[in-house]
Symmetry: C2
Subunit: 261 residues, 2 copies
DNA sequence: GCACTTTTTTGACAAAATGTCAAAATTGAC
DNA sequence: GTCAATTTTGACATTTTGTCAAAAAAGTGC
């Protein structure tokens, strides 16, 4: 329902501007932190005035939300890439694919720290309150997609028999349990690592290792075969990490524009 | 080194004012959200001008940090109360005490939501950046105390034999692993619950239950005896929850002032 | 109680940021 | 080329933070 009328240059420019605003806003985070993302700075780089930007976004917070949606898209891209990479390795299990998503999350935090930061920022009440319903919905869809990616992986593990559903529960309940468990462990762990200033002083010198071990302990207990073996696990991590890092930058370069033409 | 000189009324007033500022700021969060905590509102309620408040705190962010330190203190109070309560119940294990801390965390989120909110808020870069080193250190000590409470509990479980240290690791490594694992699971899970708008739509209708189960799965796998049994676990939860809720309000009423006179 | 010094409080001020809107400028259509 | 519709502008109002010289209050010695 889009291209019935050939768009004029002006119309194309306007349609493209939302993307341009976001492309300009993101580097600002990197240069001066989140507080440097202000309408003045964006307008200056855009070579227009604030008023024009307000034609596209009702307020600053909606811009942040749009950036967050892009960030989640990149994160999903990284998760998918990890899963596909493991699938391409001979002899790797669904469990390996699941672990690779955890590694992808680590790479996300390390290589795309601005994306990680903005995902946190928009959760803040003071930001969330001001956002529009429409934008919130878009972000919700992105998040939901991300969960689906993991859930599908776990369902595949159940179907192929690696993960056995215990008596008294269902495949979907088990799936949800695991999705939420891994999500809490990895997200919670990475968040604690990034916001608790001196984790080492408190007695946790290697949070990444702890997160990985805890994920494996959880999966082992929930009945996922084959159980954790350090050798195979570590070799998978070593193989996939450099590819993930590269992919993180690829995903950043290629801007994830919405519609086609 | 404190009370060599009898303080004048004015000196006492000033010394007491820091507490007063915090006592006034906290209800503001409840009434109008975090954004309503501004210097004007505090000054109005204090019946003085902003300038006076700036004599006590160098900026707004330091006030938030001081509120967060109080919040962590209350949280520790709740955790300690939970542990002590379980200790007083006959036939309860260290594992029950550990689980009760998880319940205490749930009660904290539900009954002291402003405290939970402020603990999140101060993690935000835009807030953290502006805080003073001194205040950050105070908060770090509070956090460290909280971790100690849990770590001691786990060490006790190791000493009494409920928790066995596997070959190739140490008691302290295991302790750290468990502390960080439970922390990630519970904190991460509760955070996701509170910030992911429609968790139910995404397929996780009962996040609290999922968190509890995941904690138990993790502890089971890490070798904590006796293993999870629904009956004993649930009876403990039922017994302790009302007492925790009451304690949450007790801790709020009694303001945790710093020094004695 | 009085003159004085020190401390504390005040409120006017500057600065930074958001969001609005009537007027100006630009664009597109005939 | 004219005119209507759309878009952009920039001045304005508002809100908030943080500063600082001057005023007020408190303390001190006599």
């Amino acid at each position: 329902m889009s291209d019935t009328v050939p768009l004029t240059a002006k119309q194309r420019e306007i349609r493209h501007r939302e993307t341009r605003i976001l492309d300009i806003a993101r580097p600002l985070i990197h240069r001066g932190g989140l507080s440097s993302v202000n309408m003045d700075a964006i307008a200056r780089e855009m070579r227009c005035t604030r008023g024009t930007i307000y034609n596209h976004f009702p307020n600053k917070e909606d811009i942040l939300l749009a950036l967050a949606a892009r960030a989640v898209d990149r994160r999903i891209g990284l998760f998918r890439f990890a899963i596909d990479s493991v699938r391409a390795m001979p002899g790797r299990t669904h469990r390996d694919a699941c672990a690779s998503v955890g590694i992808a999350a680590e790479v996300y935090v390390d290589e795309l720290p601005d994306d990680f930061a903005i995902e946190q920022a928009i959760r803040h009440d003071s930001v969330w309150e001001k956002t529009s319903e429409g934008r919130r919905h878009i972000l919700g869809v992105c998040e939901s997609n991300c969960i689906s990616v993991i859930a599908e992986l776990i369902q595949a593990a159940i179907q192929c028999g690696d993960l056995r559903v215990a008596r008294g529960t269902t495949a979907s309940a088990l799936t949800q349990q695991i999705v939420f468990g891994l999500w809490s462990l990895v997200y919670g762990g990475l968040l604690i690592e990034s916001t608790s200033p001196s984790l080492a002083e408190v007695g946790i010198p290697h949070p990444r290792q702890a997160i990985r071990q805890n994920c494996n302990a959880l999966l082992d207990n929930l009945g996922w075969e084959p159980l954790y073996r350090a050798r195979t696990y570590n070799s998978m991590v070593k193989r996939i990490t450099p590819a993930l890092i590269e992919q993180a930058h690829v995903l950043t370069k290629a801007d994830p524009t919405g519609e086609s033409s």
